[in-house]
């Protein structure tokens, strides 16, 4: 029971109370993933609408990690919340899981709107729906692990803002998240595969029938996404500094 209370504390601090006391944050979380969707849809005359909705879903997941690293750094460095929590019965894992859930709670308005758009504009099979959900789960866990790892090495909000901008650009703007990878000229296409979101986007685009992956490419994408999660999990566990040394 007390673990639930401890997780609830993080969700309240980082999402519920923030949204309750400053409702404007709801608008921000809603608009961020929709901005690119709108631009790409207009630029493609609606042809890339379904792909963009999938991309916006991926960006929502990545935004959670971006948000997490910023929020953890802010709470740790500017309010010393983490120091107070370390000296309490709350464990590192409970604190982080609570904070991760708070990011999802924070994204609920955006996810709800995107979910409605996906229902309307993405036409796929039941298996395709499960694939999209699985990709979102992996994107979310990757972004949270990345955000947590970065938060442990961040000592100032200025650093945190810089990380946010870099991750956002490298993970959801440059990679072909909102459009097919075939739109990128060949020599640069390989660079896109440096971002985990490219694999996620390929799988989503495959699930909605916009891209057609070969069996091998399909398997490789899944394996890479899972491996990236495993690697970042190991890094996060090794790098995590709950009790400082």
């Amino acid at each position: 029971m007390y673990r639930t209370s401890q997780m609830a504390a993080s969700i309240l601090v980082n999402a519920i109370y923030a949204m309750k006391n400053f409702p404007i944050t709801l608008v921000n979380t809603l608009l961020s993933p929709l901005s690119f969707l709108l631009v790409i849809t207009l630029a493609s005359h609606g042809r890339l609408l379904s792909v963009s909705v999938g991309g916006a879903l991926i960006m929502s997941m990545i935004s959670s990690g971006i948000g997490l690293q910023g929020d953890l750094s802010h709470l740790k460095n500017d309010f010393k919340l983490q120091d107070m929590v370390v000296s309490s019965p709350t464990t590192a894992s409970v604190y982080i899981v609570g904070m991760a859930i708070s990011e999802i709670v924070y994204s609920i308005p955006a996810i709800a709107v995107l979910g409605i758009l996906a229902t309307i504009y993405i036409h796929t099979t039941v298996l395709g729906v499960f694939q999209i959900i699985a990709v979102m789960v992996l994107m979310f866990s990757f972004s949270i692990l990345l955000g947590f790892t970065l938060a442990t090495i961040t000592y100032d909000i200025i650093q945190s803002w810089a990380f946010s901008g870099i991750i956002s650009t490298l993970m959801s703007t440059i990679p072909p998240v909102y459009y097919p990878i075939t739109y990128i000229p060949m020599p640069f296409r390989y660079a896109a595969y440096a971002s985990p979101t490219t694999y996620g986007a390929e799988l989503v685009q495959n699930a909605i029938g916009f891209a057609h992956l070969s069996g091998t490419a399909f398997m490789v994408d899944w394996i890479i996404l899972i491996m990236i999660n495993v690697v970042f999990f190991i890094i996060a566990v090794k790098k995590a500094r709950w009790r400082e040394v």
Binding site: M1, Y2, R3, S5, Q6, A8, A9, L12, V13, Y17, A18, N21, F22, L75, D78, F79, K80, L81, D83, M84, V85, V86, S87, S88, P89, T90, T91, R243, E244, V245
Partner: protein, 305 residues
């Protein structure tokens, strides 16, 4: 058996080579208020962070009631709580929300946490601002919100790292009253560089200088460590810059001289005969601190300007 703290040869060197603590060893009962005093950079915060299980020492052991908190921090975390130095009440929360979430982190159920928060905020005179945003409160109120979180908690060992720094005199006095009440039921480990605060509040005091414990004990214990037990101050304004020579020491208006029992009697009689106004007091913590940290009291040159 009563509670106790035991530090055994605790040292801390930070990764960049800065040595913050050098073989800190002491044992104190965990009751009342213990104040750790020392100048900025003496190592106070490092020691508190180690004791509060936030920071690993480079070497040494720490035991609280026999529990090795270096090897087994989880065993003590239910009993401890801390206000770190530079901690701030989260700006987008209200005092009610701040205290409630702190209690949730300690494992309390939501309904219980809310009820307890309301009760403690009332006790500390914060009811009128309980639902206002922390960012709109005064500095003293914000600090009281953090103290309220500690007061409301079930922890019986509280660490407060310079809790009154930056507060105005009235807010500081209010906080002193709260701490004086709180120490009846909980052990407070306080760090401060306000010597008056430590002397007024503490049951025991430790002096930390350059990463080493220089002295530790009650005020009586600390007084016993300096050779002179009284200070005499000339407070005469009528004599302006007049200097008098007495007992081999040169005294100026506004200066102090440190003396033992017999000297105090002789000098006091002499000053009365010469029609000087003066005060005579037991040595203060400030005097002792300077004596121990700077080795200034006790010698023939024992006059502090």
């Amino acid at each position: 058996m009563s509670s106790y703290f035991k530090c055994n040869d605790v040292s801390k060197t930070y990764p960049k080579g800065q040595m913050a603590l050098r073989g800190v060893t002491f044992e104190i009962p965990a009751s009342g208020i213990f104040s750790l005093i020392g100048r900025n950079g003496a190592g106070k915060t490092t020691l508190v962070r180690i004791l509060a299980t936030e920071l690993m020492p480079s070497s040494g052991d720490v035991f609280i009631d026999g529990v090795d908190i270096i090897k087994d921090p989880d065993s003590i975390r239910k009993r401890i709580a801390i206000i770190p130095q530079e901690a701030r009440a989260i700006s987008w929360l209200t005092p009610m929300q701040t205290v409630t979430t702190f209690l949730l982190y300690r494992g309390m159920k939501y309904a219980e946490a809310k009820a307890r928060s309301r009760e403690v905020l009332k006790e500390l005179g914060l009811t009128s601002v309980a639902d206002k945003l922390n960012r709109t409160l005064s500095g003293g109120q914000k600090r009281k919100v953090l103290v309220a979180a500690l007061v409301a908690s079930d922890a019986d060992i509280l660490f407060m790292d310079e809790p009154t720094t930056g507060l105005d005199p009235i807010s500081r006095a209010e906080l002193w009253d709260i701490l004086s009440e709180l120490k009846k039921n909980k052990f407070i480990f306080l760090t401060t560089h306000y010597l008056e605060e430590a002397e007024r509040l503490s049951d025991r005091i430790g002096i930390l200088d350059q990463g080493e414990i220089k002295a530790i004990g009650t005020m009586s214990d600390l007084r016993a460590m300096v050779p002179k037990k009284y200070s005499i101050s000339l407070i005469d304004r009528d004599h302006g810059s007049v200097e008098i020579e007495n007992n081999g020491s040169l005294m100026k208006i506004g200066s102090r001289i440190f003396v033992d029992d017999n000297e105090a009697y002789v000098i006091a009689r002499d000053l009365i005969n010469k029609n000087f106004r003066f005060s005579i007091n037991p040595v203060s913590l400030e005097d002792i601190y300077y004596s121990i940290a700077r080795k200034e009291i006790g010698g023939e040159e024992g006059v502090q300007d």
